[in-house]
């Protein structure tokens, strides 16, 4: 408790310090508010937004897209990772293709997805999935291969079926890997949704930001970014919860021993 308090206090101090410097910098004319609007303006703008119904619609749309692409991306990536992690031949064959796809700048996929999936939710989610999927895949793939060979041998000797091995050995062993990928993925899912909206849509936070950008309204852009960050922190808290529940069996982190 005292430790948590200390953490919160330090964080608060950092945030406050940054905001103060920024605000003063703007007031003193050192920072150009055309590019970096003062925090006070940002807060005012967010407050303004929050009082409109449109904003909440935008937020809920983006949230839905984010959550869907997060879940779908993690699902597909993890499944793929497990499959390839367990079948070395398939892995060797398929991996180069996966790597190649991972190289495609997602911005370029935006228009293609619009062509394939239309302007609705699906194309947004598709873009998010392409970002999340690879992170989840590579980590799960490695995680599955990192299983302690002695533990694995022991379970196999107890005559575990393939699916039992998966459930009782591979997945628990890869949990930290998968969780770690979730951390990156949360951000990626948000990014995917927003970029897709930014490229073409009629609602959502990405649209809001694009609009602000179109009229050179830096305040709107930054306010949008702040809302997004709040988003990610909220989603990440859920991952934290999952982590606590899934990893009860672990010894306390090594450095505190």
């Amino acid at each position: 408790m005292p430790r948590r308090g200390k953490v919160a206090l330090t964080q608060f101090a950092i945030v406050l310090g940054l905001i103060l410097i920024w605000e003063l910098g703007v007031r003193a004319g050192l920072i150009d508010p055309f590019f970096f609007p003062a925090p006070s303006t940002l807060i005012a703008r967010i407050g303004e937004w929050m009082s409109t119904a449109d904003f909440w619609t935008d937020v809920s749309i983006t949230l839905l897209e984010t959550v869907l692409s997060f879940l779908a991306g993690i699902g597909i990536g993890t499944a793929l990772g497990i499959w390839l992690g367990l079948s070395p031949f398939a892995a060797e064959v398929v991996q180069p293709f996966i790597k190649m796809f991972n190289a495609i700048p997602r911005i370029l996929l935006g228009p293609i997805f619009v062509i394939w999936f239309g302007l609705g939710l699906t194309s947004k989610v598709a873009l998010g999935v392409t970002l999340v999927l690879f992170v989840a895949f590579f980590n799960t793939f490695q995680g599955v291969r990192e299983v302690n060979p002695v533990v694995l041998a022991n379970a196999r000797l107890l005559r575990a079926s393939k699916s039992s091995l998966l459930r009782h050995v591979y997945l628990p062993s890869a949990t930290t890997w998968i969780l770690s990928s979730l951390r990156v993925s949360v951000g990626m899912a948000v990014m995917g949704a927003v970029v897709a909206e930014y490229l073409g849509s009629s609602a959502g936070l990405g649209h809001l930001i694009a609009q602000a950008e179109g009229v050179l309204d830096a305040t709107g852009v930054f306010a949008g970014i702040i809302v997004l960050s709040a988003f990610v922190v909220a989603l990440d808290a859920i991952v934290d919860r999952a982590e606590k529940r899934l990893l009860v069996w672990r010894p306390a982190p090594a450095h505190e021993a």
């Binding site: 490229l199 694009a210 009229v215 050179l216």
Partner: protein
């Protein structure tokens, strides 16, 4: 006099036909002749990025929409247009082929879905202005951003949207396929009048006022080069122009390219000079759309100067 600066960076927001003379000039060597070395930086994500680069000091000048000079004045930044590339926008607003019979005027757009490239972009502004001018309220038409280029075409053909605001080469492609019928075609002066009640200056070379003050000779050279390029454009045939155009502005198909040029040649202003009355149209359009601009007292005189273009016309007779 010698130019104060010889290495100059000029930004463009994506490679649309309106901005073509800049790169054409580079290709033809017009800038070299004037003793300045110009690099063109392309901002595919749009004009606002190119403008930001100018304000941030990453580039010396930007070829972008005249609108920006007004918007910047509202935000307390002095930028000024020194050479007007287009005095008409070159923009079209079309409805899907199958709706052409039902929708003949702007008022017919009521309840339909209209695609623009990006929220807040010039297509957005112009579309909203046109809707208003046609007697509709802002909520009567649902405006959807579809991105630039192919996705908009596809969205229209797939009936995701009912109408679209677009430029060439999309315009020519859509016309060939007969999948869209324009409600207005501002690639001509009449079309522009019909849509905006006057000619509508769009692409121009603008720079920071401070830069112009410090580097008048460099600016003059830039304007001279553009002036020469425009004069060249207006003397050659469409075929010659197409062959000379830089690759980023033409499609694979020469025929289509020629068709595009034939439809759009009127875009390129022969003088590069701004008419004060013409400048009032964008102000009206923007003011309608953005209350901040309406509120700000915009001094149009400060948004452009014909000084350089006039001198170019004299020098290069």
């Amino acid at each position: 006099a010698e130019p104060e600066k010889t290495k100059l960076k000029i930004a463009v927001g994506s490679q649309i036909l309106n901005y073509m003379p800049l790169e054409l000039g580079v290709k033809l060597g017009a800038f070299k002749e004037e003793g300045v070395d110009v690099t063109v930086e392309n901002f595919q994500a749009g004009g606002s990025k190119a403008l930001q680069a100018l304000i941030g000091g990453s580039v010396d000048g930007t070829v972008g929409f005249y609108d920006h000079t007004i918007q910047m004045q509202a935000q307390g930044k002095q930028i000024s247009c020194v050479f007007l590339l287009n005095d008409i926008p070159g923009v079209l607003l079309g409805v899907r082929g199958d709706l052409a019979d039902k929708v003949k005027t702007g008022a017919g757009l009521k309840g339909l879905k209209l695609g623009i490239t990006a929220p807040g972009s010039s297509t957005d502004t112009m579309a909203r202005y046109y809707i208003k001018k046609s007697g509709l309220g802002p909520r009567d038409v649902s405006i959807i951003a579809v991105g630039s280029g192919a996705p908009g075409m596809v969205a229209l053909e797939a009936r995701n949207i009912d109408a679209l605001v677009y430029f060439d080469p999309i315009a020519t492609l859509l016309a060939r396929k007969k999948s869209a019928t324009p409600l207005f075609d501002a690639r001509t002066v009449e079309g522009s009048r019909q849509a905006f009640g006057g000619i509508y200056p769009t692409a121009c070379l603008y720079l920071q006022q401070s830069f112009i003050d410090k580097n008048p000779e460099a600016v003059q050279r830039l304007v001279n080069a553009l002036f020469k390029t425009h004069r060249w454009i207006n003397t050659v045939s469409a075929e010659q122009l197409v062959d000379a155009m830089p690759p980023g502005y033409k499609t694979d198909n020469r025929e289509v390219n020629i068709e595009i040029i034939n439809a759009s040649k009127a875009l390129f202003s022969p003088t590069g000079q701004m008419d004060i009355d013409a400048a009032k149209v964008p102000l009206a359009v923007l003011g309608d759309f953005d209350p901040k601009i309406a509120a700000a007292k915009i001094d149009l005189i400060k948004t452009f100067t014909n000084r350089f273009a006039k001198r170019a016309a004299q020098q290069l007779k």
